[in-house]
Symmetry: C2
């Protein structure tokens, strides 16, 4: 029997190389050769794991969404519901370098959605999941049922808008504003519910 390497691990290593290229040079520079080089692999080796460019893009997108989901899931439920909500929401917005790259990759790969249809499917699924998460959060904050849908959609838009703004700059002041806005929104939802 020959050498046997962990395919999944290899895939993730390559996907992370792709992320670096997207972040540093833009999605336009993402080619099979460039990603292989960034990963320190020969093109042939990369293609042994990702036969086509579409496979590569699809997995890279999926892994990014999976990582983000996992990061959110690991936020331990606080007793203070407002604090917990803020903590969750702050993971959805690129406040740290890691999540900033994540969102930039997310956005950039969406630009490829028209040519790689599977990415569009992943995007829609992620958007749906995020909206469901916002609904859950709104309910937990005590928003009355009749207002949950509106407030959830609003919260979702707010989060993605902040993410969009932060994805451009790494300014610490901008990050602080984002935190403040999220806290204000969470407080508004909770306070209105207490009436």
């Amino acid at each position: 029997m020959p050498k046997h390497i962990d395919h999944e691990q290899r895939r993730e290593q390559i996907a992370e190389a792709l992320w670096r290229v997207v972040e540093q040079e833009g999605v336009a520079q993402v080619s099979v050769r460039r990603v292989a080089q960034e990963a320190g692999l020969a093109v042939g080796s990369l293609r042994h794991v990702f036969p086509t460019r579409a496979d590569l893009l699809e997995f890279s997108t999926e892994l990014m969404l999976r990582r983000a989901t996992e990061r959110i899931r690991q936020v331990t439920p606080h007793e203070d519901i407002e604090e917990y909500a803020c903590e969750v929401l702050e993971h959805l917005v690129p406040l740290t370098p890691a999540s900033r790259i994540e969102f930039a990759v997310n956005l950039a790969l969406y630009a490829e959605a028209p040519s790689v249809s599977q990415i569009g499917v992943l995007r829609d699924r992620a958007q749906h999941a995020l909206q469901e998460g916002c609904r859950l959060l709104a309910r937990r904050l005590g928003v009355p049922d009749v207002r949950v849908e509106l407030e959830a959609r609003r919260l979702h838009a707010l989060v993605d808008g902040l993410a969009l703004h932060l994805s451009g700059s790494v300014d610490a002041a901008e990050a602080e504003w984002a935190r403040e806005i999220l806290a204000a929104e969470v407080h508004r939802l909770h306070a209105a519910a207490a009436e």
Copy 2:
């Protein structure tokens, strides 16, 4: 003297062809040749007006921002400040096919920012202008000075988040939700100011 065509008009014609390509096939398909074909021109003719690809992308981005700015500027100030605010904000969100394409192009071209640095400059300028507009709107709605910055940033994020969500689908129901969310936010800002 030879034939003399309107350069500006020609430029706009080409930029609009680029937009169509971005919308229908994604930014990855934008090449000098493809855009020339879409515009019904020879590559040489296109390059007579846009010497390089970067020039083409830069102008297309700039024109899009200019058109959007002009559209907003033409909203006549209502007497009802809430109605006026809503009307302005609804122009910032891709509710109509035209503005939907506009935002899609906007988003897609941002993906090229790392390779065409001038696009990054335009993006930052547009973002800054939009934020200033939000500040102005917040003030006109009567938001107290100490809260203007926070509320303006929140409004800006909300608008861009809604835009991001709407850019994917053309669902009429989604558009209605966006209108409702914007109206609610405008009302909240105005109502809180009345206290």
